[in-house]
């Protein structure tokens, strides 16, 4: 039994052991809060060989540090600002000084920025970093109380100084010799002066790094904010402001509350860097922001406050493509404070849009409520270098161009500029002052040579924030110790694995998947029942048997949220042992499963359904093609084939029912990349994915299982069931597509319900263009909202529906190996059938909401990463195929601009832009442009949305940024290269 004790809190010390403060409640009431604090003398200092403190210790004297200023060994104690502004530096593998991290510092970081706090927490656990968390607020000698009139900031600074002083005395009383120095790192000059007066060794981070042996590399990681050691210089003061100042936060929040201002996420426009928008609830259309000044230093994803102009000043989005690389190519990185006339000119021209009918709310950003800056993958713009001498170590200011078109160029100072040319690098933004046209940032690390697969792959993962580190030891320790040799234990009484499990090993179960599938998480069976009905079963890998709540493996899976599939790499949500072996329902081996078994009438009406944990032994693993061939071969009469035919006949009826209920048949341009071989991974071809009847067979049964499970868990846990929904799209989303269809094709899109939309999409047929219907479906898909996970108790019952599937309830149950939401659904279903009690966290709405928020975000990011990976390989494939001239492909116009057209190449599943050098006759209301024919004497040619054209596609490397770009030019009906 553990030792239970009573802690004494002497009343005489109440001044520092009690804390009284006033707090405002959500309802606006002021309440008094009294809290206790127990001060102790057993909070360990963490120094190895300390004679006084017991327990774990990580701070060791390091002889290899070789710091110029502290040759005899030392520990550092950074203050809060070091972590707030210099996290990249501290995270660097080269920064290995043993470090004391104070509780006061951790709490301040947590208070100031949650993302940084999370990084700090990860940092503490990083192997090789010797970081000791010292709970100074609980130690008798170091705890302090805020004095009267003292600001929280000053109080914390004083606490940090006190802890530093304590460390010094503590070490000198516990160490006879080899006494390490404890150095307070702070960027605050005033704090340093105070510390020095108290006899504490202190130094700025910059000076500390300068004394380190790897100073050159580390100094680059120092964020810009750290560079002005002294005071802000005159140079900055002298500059004129390029952007309006932000309003104070309190004004912003009050404005948002009062409805004068609007809060939302800033979205940059991918075609025009001088435009952005913010979607807010008040308006059905997003608020348009035109021009640099009105976008006022917002970066993609920031939460901003917007002021909307009077309706007379509303504008329509520009109908022109404005590329920042082209417009700003002559801008000098060193003194962007000076407005160059050429730039201003070019920009003002780009901004002045023609009045058009599509006006939408227009406004300007008056403040940023929350920055969402992260590390961005960039290239160094070679023209911004003043010296490209590869051995030059002089400090240069250069431009980094982010890979994403949605981000502005970032100005950074580095000594390694020449060596970074031609590399993909990671850059973070540190600040964006109103005298600087560009944000300022710093170099984090190099990812590798541009177009090397490793660098491209890693940059893709970073760009979409996919966690891709290998699984750590703590996680792998959660796996069964037998590893690959694990088998379902023999069926015997009292064997835990068999508890309450049905033995379904004799059923004729098989799996149907794409070729080469390693993580088989579903298998099926069907058989005729004596009463004329049919029994059908879906068997899903029993992942929750291996992944228990509250284990390191579970938390890792929750934070990864999903497996990410790139063309040549899979980033697993769960360790491969589970995904590709123990939980993979391979043929001819016994596996644990969670089964949903229905009795269906021959017309596919559900008579009943039951769920059970089971043991299965799949009889075969088919590819879609194999299953299809088997089904269609009249000579085959074996029971397995019969069961596939049975499943197929049911699937056809299930699908017909869904369609009758108004389900949408949406199209997404899915292409498949053929890789040469697994080693070289050079793409040799791109083809569109083929859909077979058997694809649909599997899909129908998965949908059926998901719907049935959703009903069951919602019934059992109405407050916290993990469900998935697809909200109906707002009508305004379709306005443009409806208008285009009406004007160009005379077709009508009825969006009053999903059923009518499905029906009208079916009618969008152009006999002369067989792919036209697919194109409309793709465009319609883009008008919809995306499906999302949600906690059933958090939203109204009437908003549960899945619009696309036309189902009143839905969840994800069928892929627990690769989706975390499914793992939760499994746990809830297991509890619903009384197999095991539900873990406390799944009773908590708050917890479920939080986990699903992460899952939604990861899901979205994974999709984008997958798409970007396909795009990259399509580019490589084009390069491989096209030699010099590029590749000619058929394409459809999907958008018209004043100076170009947006096209979609269905065969490759990619979108591109064709730009014209000279202006055209542009009719925005009819979505047409008119250009002179390239053949003399043929007059003008009109191009409109939905037109079929031929484009030439080549991959061109931007000379300056090394950014690989797909460049498209029109071949038919006119040759745009001549324009």
């Amino acid at each position: 039994m553990v030792d239970i004790t009573i802690r004494k809190r002497p009343r005489a010390e109440a001044v520092i052991t009690q804390r009284k403060f006033f707090k405002k409640t959500a309802r606006g009431k002021i309440i008094k809060v009294l809290r206790e604090r127990y001060l102790r003398d057993d909070v360990s200092c963490g120094v190895l060989s300390c004679t006084e403190c017991s327990g774990e210790a990580v701070l060791s004297l390091d002889a290899h540090l070789q710091h110029k200023l502290f040759p005899s060994g030392h520990f550092i104690l950074p203050d809060t600002n070091v972590f707030l502004s210099q996290m990249d530096l501290v995270e660097s593998e080269m920064f290995t000084t043993p470090m004391v991290l104070l509780q006061t510092v951790i709490e301040e970081v947590r208070h100031r920025s949650l993302p940084l706090y999370n990084r700090l927490k990860a940092l503490i656990k990083t192997e090789g970093k010797r970081i000791w968390v010292f709970y100074n607020e609980y130690r008798m000698e170091t705890a302090i109380v805020r004095g009267e009139g003292e600001t929280p900031n000053d109080r914390n600074d004083r606490g940090i100084r006190k802890a530093t002083a304590w460390y010094s005395t503590h070490i000198s009383s516990t160490h006879r010799q080899n006494r390490p120095a404890v150095i307070l790192l702070t960027e605050d000059a005033a704090n340093r002066r105070k510390a020095e007066a108290e006899g504490i060794t202190t130094i700025s981070l910059r000076r500390y790094v300068e004394g380190m042996i790897n100073a050159t590399q580390l100094l680059d990681l120092l964020a810009a904010a750290g560079s002005d050691e002294i005071e802000p210089t005159k140079a900055v003061e002298g500059r004129q402001a390029l952007y309006p100042d932000y309003l104070p936060t309190s004004t912003l929040l009050a404005g948002v509350k009062a409805g004068d201002l609007h809060q939302g996420h800033f979205n940059a426009d991918q075609y025009n860097y001088l435009e952005g928008s913010v979607s807010v609830q008040t308006f059905s259309k997003p608020i348009l922001l035109v021009g640099r000044e009105h976008m006022n230093r917002a970066v993609q994803g920031d939460v901003v406050a917007v002021e909307v102009f009077d309706e007379t000043e509303w504008m329509a989005p520009a109908d022109e493509v404005v590329d920042q690389d082209a417009t700003l190519k002559n801008d000098d990185a060193d003194d962007s404070g000076e407005e160059e006339e050429a730039v201003v000119d070019a920009e003002s021209k780009a901004v002045s849009t023609s009045p058009s009918s599509n006006k939408q709310p227009t406004g300007r950003i008056v403040g940023v409520i929350k920055r969402n800056w992260r590390a961005y993958v960039c290239h160094i713009d070679s023209t911004s270098l003043t010296s490209s001498n590869s051995t030059s170590l002089s400090l240069q200011t250069v431009f980094a161009t982010p890979v994403s078109r949605l981000l502005p160029r970032i100005r950074l100072r580095t000594r390694q500029a020449p060596t970074l040319i031609g590399q993909k690098i990671l850059v973070t933004i540190d600040r964006w002052g109103n005298t600087s046209r560009y944000p300022e940032g710093h170099f984090v690390r190099a990812l590798g040579k541009v177009e090397s697969k490793e660098a491209e792959q890693e940059s893709l993962l970073l760009e979409f924030e996919v966690p891709y580190r290998p699984f750590g030891k703590a996680i792998l320790d959660c796996l069964p110790p037998e590893g690959d040799n694990w088998v379902v234990p023999p069926k015997a009484d009292g064997n835990l694995a068999w508890r309450d499990r049905e033995d379904l090993r004799n059923l004729l179960i098989c799996s149907i998947d794409p070729p080469g599938c390693q993580d088989i998480d579903d298998a099926l069976h069907a058989r005729a029942l004596p009463n004329g009905n049919i029994e059908a079963g879906v068997h899903i890998a029993d992942v929750s048997y291996f992944v228990h709540p509250d284990t390191p493996m579970d938390s890792e899976a929750a934070s990864r949220g999903t497996t990410v599939y790139l063309v040549d790499k899979r980033i697993d949500m769960l360790p491969a042992l589970l995904g590709t072996n123990l939980c993979s329902l391979r043929p001819h081996v016994e596996r644990l499963a969670f089964s949903a078994i229905w009795e269906l009438t021959p017309d596919a009406d559900i008579v009943n359904v039951r769920f059970t944990k089971s043991v299965i032994a799949s009889k075969a693993a088919f590819t879609y093609e194999e299953a299809q061939i088997r089904k269609d071969d009249p000579n085959l009469r074996d029971p397995l084939t019969a069961s596939i035919r049975l499943l197929n006949s049911l699937a056809l009826k299930l699908k017909a029912k869904r369609m009758a209920a108004g389900a949408l048949n949406l199209a997404s341009p899915e292409v498949k990349i053929h890789l040469d071989s697994s080693e070289s991974s050079d793409p040799i071809d791109v083809e569109q994915k083929e859909m077979r009847e058997t694809n649909s067979l599997v899909e129908e049964f998965m949908l059926l299982a998901n719907v049935s499970v959703a009903r069951k868990i919602q019934e059992s846990f109405p407050a916290t069931a993990v469900l998935r929904r697809h909200l109906p799209p707002p009508k305004t989303n379709f306005e443009k597509l409806q208008d285009i269809l009406k004007k160009r094709k005379g077709m009508v899109l009825d969006i009053s319900s999903s059923g009518s939309l499905a029906a009208s999409l079916d009618r969008c047929i152009d006999a002369s263009q067989p792919t036209f219907n697919t194109l409309v479906r793709i465009m319609a898909t883009r008008c919809m909202l995306s499906a999302e996970y949600f906690c059933s108790g958090s939203v109204g019952r009437d908003t549960f529906g899945h619009y696309g599937l036309a189902s009143e309830i839905y969840t994800h149950f069928t892929s627990p190996i690769r989706r975390y939401a499914d793992v939760l659904a499994h746990r809830q279903l297991a509890a619903a059938i009384g197999y095991s009690p539900l873990h406390a966290s799944l009773h908590s709405k708050h917890h479920v909401e939080r986990v699903l928020d992460v899952a939604n975000r990861r899901h979205r990011m994974a999709q984008m990463a997958g798409r970007a990976s396909v795009e990259f390989y399509v580019g490589l494939a084009l390069k491989g195929r096209g030699e010099k001239q590029g590749v000619k492909e058929e394409a459809f116009v999907i958008r018209t601009f004043r100076n170009g057209v947006g096209v979609f190449v269905s065969k490759l599943g990619i979108e591109g832009l064709v730009m014209f050098k000279r202006d055209t006759q542009f009719d925005p209301d009819n979505y047409t442009i008119t250009v002179p024919s390239s053949t003399k004497g043929l007059g003008d040619v009109m191009i409109s949305v939905f037109d079929k054209v031929v484009v030439n596609i080549e991959v061109e490397k931007d000379r300056n940024t090394q950014r690989g770009k797909v460049k498209m030019s029109l071949i038919e009906p006119v040759d745009s290269r001549a324009l």
């Binding site: 039994m1 009690q18 206790e36 406390a840």
Partner: protein, 260 residues
């Protein structure tokens, strides 16, 4: 994020500096309060409760008189200044009535009511300050007040709260902790090891429950030790004060005190 305070941090400290199994400071004041036959003020951290016991005395109301044993009557009042948010709770408040009923049912099997037929024992519980563990403080203070009134009890009773943060059990919760994690209050009779009360308003996993239950029983013994020491101290003081008056009376009281 609802709360930015960590319930249990990675260093194993709770938000007030305690570790998982550390109980808050306990102070006990058993000095005479007004005309009560027995009274006690107990403080668990920042939760403070005063209990006054009157009786056993003749039952005032016929209807409540039990011919073979004493009737226990519990009234709870919560001072409006006891929480930061001033809020007046009427006597008829459902929560207050429920708490009174809980205290009553906790002590009914412990008080030797059959020794006092046709009488009543009135227990007035006043909550002076609240910071979690309210029921625990009420029960412990009632125990002490009953003892100081010299009422015969079968065994001692001591109560404690316990909760589970993720998978880590912890004892003697503050209001902040109670708001965040599932918790139980357990009252045990340390000598016999019997449990006279267990309440739970939040859901708790079965496996976790067993763990926290065992811990709470252990913690009850620790609190028992503290309360016994306070009673001894009080008795000692009474003895020395009474010695001049009557030695016998002192001894008798002493005997009774040690019965629990």
């Amino acid at each position: 994020m609802s709360s930015r305070i960590e319930i249990l941090n990675e260093g194993g400290f709770r938000s007030d500096g305690r570790r998982q199994y550390e109980l808050r400071d306990i102070t006990i004041d058993m000095s005479q309060q007004g005309t009560a036959d027995g009274s006690a003020i107990i403080t668990h951290g920042l939760t403070q409760v005063l209990v006054s016991v009157f009786g056993p005395r003749e039952a005032k109301m016929r209807s409540q008189t039990l011919y073979d044993r004493a009737n226990i009557n519990v009234e709870v009042s919560i001072a409006s200044f006891s929480t930061g948010e001033r809020r007046k709770r009427s006597r008829g408040d459902k929560r207050i009535l429920e708490m009174a009923a809980t205290i009553k049912s906790t002590f009914e099997p412990v008080v030797q009511t059959n020794l006092y037929p046709r009488s009543q024992i009135d227990i007035f519980v006043q909550v002076l300050q609240q910071d979690g563990g309210l029921l625990q403080a009420c029960i412990n203070a009632t125990m002490l007040a009953l003892a100081s009134a010299g009422i015969s009890l079968l065994d001692f009773v001591s109560a404690v709260t316990g909760g589970v943060h993720s998978t880590s059990p912890m004892l003697d919760l503050t209001a902040l902790e109670e708001n965040d994690i599932p918790h139980v209050t357990v009252a045990v009779m340390p000598r016999t090891g019997k449990v006279t009360l267990i309440t739970m308003e939040t859901r708790l996993h079965v496996d976790r429950f067993e763990e926290i239950f065992k811990l709470a029983c252990e913690a009850g013994k620790v609190i028992h030790g503290e309360m016994r020491a306070a009673i001894r101290l009080r008795t000692g003081m009474l003895i020395s004060a009474m010695q001049s008056v009557s030695q016998n009376a002192g001894e008798k009281e002493d005997e009774q005190m040690y019965e629990y």
